[in-house]
Symmetry: C2
Subunit: 371 residues, 2 copies
DNA sequence: GTGAAAGCGCTAACAA
DNA sequence: TTGTTAGCGCTTTCAC
């Protein structure tokens, strides 16, 4: 029971070789006779040797640089949350010789993506965490990165063709289904009246059209499978909407009394829509949408939004860094996909979720008397 | 920018003393002249010295023992999930000289709690993670533990009087409110019919009566505040229920057509109630309850349960260990409360949540060729 | 009071 | 192909 951990020294003794040789086989560095190799492998297996990670990182005094590439958080609350996750991870890993450098691009300017990705290449990072928002630009960039053999992880958006080490994000199709279910529970399930649900794509730029399409598909599929002829689903696009215009369009839409619920597929669209609902005093229309933006939360509390799906951008980003750090330092295996849970936020569990997000890491700054 | 981390050696050089002396002030070990102390403190402050935790733990070759005290997981799926969390944490921290020893008591036998806590005292652990299910027994035990100065954390159940280092768990009152909201959304909000919701306490033992009362209070408060005279709430107790009996009682209860929704406050009560509903073919009654037991999930999928509140026992337990390990090794500060988010589980997000729970830590077992 | 030095388990450069 | 050795930053013992 109380076996102390086996050290390299023990392995070398048991195999009748020196620790240098053991180290060589542990790291496949070659220059080992077949006989020694065989013997060492045997001992390794029998003892179930696990390297001491502390000693490992302490000794191999390497500095690793991880670059992150995300939209500018100062302009967008959602990305601010991601950035918080990265900052938290930076703190956490700074002790382990991991340096984290952030690169921000403009969410609405693909050339800035290009510019920043060029900067990253010059910076020669050991790994990259990125949200490849601009498809074709990302394709070019990560093609180069891949050729250089630099590992990278995508989060929030995926580009499966370029095969990142891992994708971290949500299953958007399923989130569309979930929104459908929630609206269904709120209205449709018990109603025998005719009922129409509207999917609203409210967006300022086209670059996340794939996202929106997947959500839409999940939503419509849910009701297709339900096969209730009383329930109808319509889809509407509002690109580059301004408030006045959107309100007019919504007003027209909602003049149809069959419209009972809305599924807004973009985070900013949620509060824009909710604001219109408030002006129209239409609390009778149910609304489900995405993300804990402060304005969305405001309308959730006021009752104009019923459910928000939380993507947990903070934890997504932190996990991405954590994966890369583990990969670089410990060569840990990383799952190729990590789908985050679809978190349902309502008025009554909002506070508990917000609380659990604030938990900041205690700092390790020296305090005399501590040890 | 590229300042390499300051080492003890640097401090000693800057303060014109030896590293031994620096170490003495870092750990308040005395035997330092006022002058040296002053100078070192000054340098420490100026440089913002942060100790290298890796070197620290590697060097001070201490073994810490953490004891965990929870109900026997082999008899209860909920506690099995907690135990999984502890096992995961054991793996994770084994490299850091943290030994985790589990003590299990019988959930229905307070004397076994006493027995196991006696065992723990003999074991002389450096810290304890416990779920203090049996109030008075726990009171006695942790009084002793406190006098011995052994740090401890509670999870799942709290006993605020004895002031643990931290309590990890959910806000049960709020979870009652959440269940009320969900039922309200499922039925009440749009209905002008008379409507009664029933709170069902289905339990085998009285020891978690405080839990149940809090949930009940949250539930009833929600509807009190809503102040809708069409909505009524009743509360029912089924202690030590067998299936036959429970079904009879439920059948009687549900003969009242005003009963539209049930809030079952215990995890095992959920599937027992759902099973009865199935036998009675009463899919028209809505049911919200607690915990991802496999039987609860079964009935969720089948449509006899509408929402489950997930307490995430696995992550609660893992976090508890993590807190204690950080406290022992790094003297990290720990928040005195950590309320977990109230996670809403429905048919459509179930899979995504289960997926994210399975994520097992990649093992560090040696694989030749890795490093 | 203070400093020197050995050692924690591992890496990597160097000698043999 | 192998073994030896000097660190990584910190703790701790022991001699001065």
């Amino acid at each position: 029971m109380d076996v102390k951990n086996i050290r390299i020294k023990d392995i070398s003794r048991l195999a009748g070789v020196s620790i240098g040789t053991v180290d060589r086989v542990l790291h496949n560095r070659g220059n080992v006779s077949a006989k020694a190799l065989h013997k060492i492998m045997e001992v390794l297996d029998k003892t179930g040797y696990k390297p001491n990670l502390l000693a490992r990182t302490l000794s191999s005094n390497k500095k690793y640089i991880i670059a992150s590439l995300i939209p500018d958080p100062s302009l967008d609350e959602y990305w601010q949350q991601s950035d918080d996750g990265i900052k938290e991870a930076r703190e956490e890993w700074s002790h382990y010789n991991i340096e984290l450098r952030s690169f921000y691009f403009d969410l609405y300017d693909r050339t800035s993506f290009r510019k920043k990705s060029d900067e990253i290449i010059k910076y020669k990072p050991d790994a990259i965490l990125a949200s490849p928002i601009f498809h074709s630009e990302a394709l070019d960039f990560f093609d180069i990165i891949q050729k250089k053999g630099i590992p990278f992880i995508f989060f929030n958006s995926d580009i499966p063709e370029i095969n990142p080490l891992c994708f971290i994000g949500q299953n958007l199709y399923q989130s569309g289904r979930l929104c459908a279910e929630l609206l269904d529970m709120l209205i449709g399930a018990n109603s025998h009246d005719l009922c129409t649900f509207a999917v609203l794509h409210v967006y300022e730029d086209i670059h996340n059209s794939v996202h929106l399409a997947e959500k839409e598909k999940g939503f419509t599929d849910y009701f297709k499978e339900k096969n209730n002829s009383n329930i109808d689903v319509i889809v509407l696009d509002y690109s580059k909407p301004d408030k006045i215009l959107l309100e007019k369009e919504l007003s027209a839409l909602l003049s149809d009394p069959k419209i009972k619920g809305l599924h807004v597929t973009t985070s900013k669209g949620v509060f824009m829509t909710a604001e219109s609902l408030e002006k129209m005093k239409r609390k009778d229309v149910r609304l489900v949408g995405y993300d804990l933006l402060s304005e969305n939360i405001y309308y959730l509390k006021k009752g104009y939004v019923d459910f928000l799906i939380h993507q947990n951008p903070k934890r997504q980003a932190a996990l991405g860094v954590s994966y890369l750090a583990n990969y670089l330092l410990f060569k840990k295996e990383i799952p190729s996909k990590n789908f985050f849970p679809l978190e349902i936020i309502s008025r009554q569990n909002l506070q508990s979720v917000q609380q659990s997000l604030q938990k900041s890491q205690a700092k390790n700054r020296h305090k005399p008397g501590s040890r």
